[in-house]
């Protein structure tokens, strides 16, 4: 049984559209159609926004006026949506960039150091997607270099 595996990567743009979707390990997750992936991306985008609002410690956004009366020095903490989701069969790590792009990494439940993997994936995204002069923002990612580098990096992890 393989215990340390990265199953898949999904990238969602700031509008909730699916811009990248790749499976690295067959058998980890159910095979679903591209259409289902698009629906999943949209659903997750909405759920992510709700999870940020559900914070039981503070009431975010809704009462701006009352927070400003407590003084200008108290800067509100950045709202944070879902970061890690756990189920019986897999674990999903979500990383949101400051520009609102979400990286979802599906791994085995026992996978360690997903933060590091996520960091590397983001590095590759900035290097091979954002620096690609032909890439249009918010559009599906079709960059050969990104595909290749990502593939070899994840293969290295999965074969370790």
């Amino acid at each position: 049984m393989i215990t340390r595996t990265v199953f898949a990567l999904i990238i969602i743009n700031k509008a909730g559209g699916l811009i990248y979707n790749r499976t690295f390990h067959e058998g980890g997750l159910n095979k679903i159609s591209t259409n289902d992936y698009l629906v999943l991306a949209g659903t997750f985008h909405g759920v992510h926004a709700i999870t940020a609002r559900l914070n039981p410690l503070k009431f975010p956004a809704t009462n701006r006026s009352s927070t400003s009366s407590t003084g200008p020095l108290t800067r509100p903490e950045l709202p944070s949506g879902l970061e890690v989701l756990e189920s019986e069969n897999f674990r999903m790590q979500c990383f949101t960039t400051l520009t609102g792009i979400k990286f979802l990494l599906f791994t085995d439940t026992t996978q360690a150091n997903v933060d590091l993997t996520m960091r590397r994936v983001y590095d590759m995204y900035t290097d091979y997607v954002m620096k690609n002069p032909f890439y249009q923002l918010e559009m599906p990612v079709r960059c050969d270099m990104f595909d290749r580098k990502l593939g070899s990096y994840i293969r290295e992890i999965n074969n370790r």
């Binding site: 997750l29 759920v47 709700i50 559900l54 410690l57 009462n63 970061e83 890690v84 756990e86 897999f90």
Partner: protein, 149 residues
């Protein structure tokens, strides 16, 4: 470990029980009681929508036997447990808490089944929370949670 709040949803997706262990300064936010009650009801609806969507997402990806366990944000962690009869138990805790699945299971076995299901005066369907808010259940739950903290 800190428990913030606890919710029970029945199979008709209705919130039949909710309890918060937050100090009133947090949950009130200087708005008065009517808004607090309203926002608590709204929170329950949002929480149900979230766990319902995530549960469906998990089932789609992980197979029908997979079960959604928990999610974590930078500020809190939500634990989820669903029984075979589609009763859903949800608990919000701080981020450092480990899996509360067994705790939710204990609440179901030792409190829900004992004090609500086995109560002859309690209705079969708990519309509007009828039959859930009995003294034994409330007391047992409060003691159990305070024992954890």
């Amino acid at each position: 470990m800190v428990v913030y709040s606890f919710y029970i949803f029945d199979r008709h997706t209705e919130c039949i029980y909710s309890k918060s262990w937050l100090p009133p300064a947090h949950s009130g936010a200087a708005n008065g009681t009517t808004t607090t009650a309203k926002s608590a009801a709204d929170d329950a609806k949002l929480i149900f929508g979230t766990v319902f969507s995530l549960r469906n997402m998990v089932r789609k990806l992980g197979g029908d036997d997979d079960a959604f366990v928990s999610y974590r944000t930078a500020h809190y962690k939500l634990h989820y447990y669903e029984t075979a009869s589609n009763l859903r138990l949800v608990m919000l805790t701080d981020t450092a808490t480990l899996s509360m699945r067994n705790v939710l299971h204990q609440i179901y076995i030792n409190l829900w089944v004992e004090y609500v299901v086995k109560n002859p005066l309690s209705p079969v369907e708990h519309k509007g929370g009828a039959g859930v808010r009995n003294e034994l259940f409330e007391l047992g739950l409060d003691q159990f949670i305070r024992g954890l903290m």
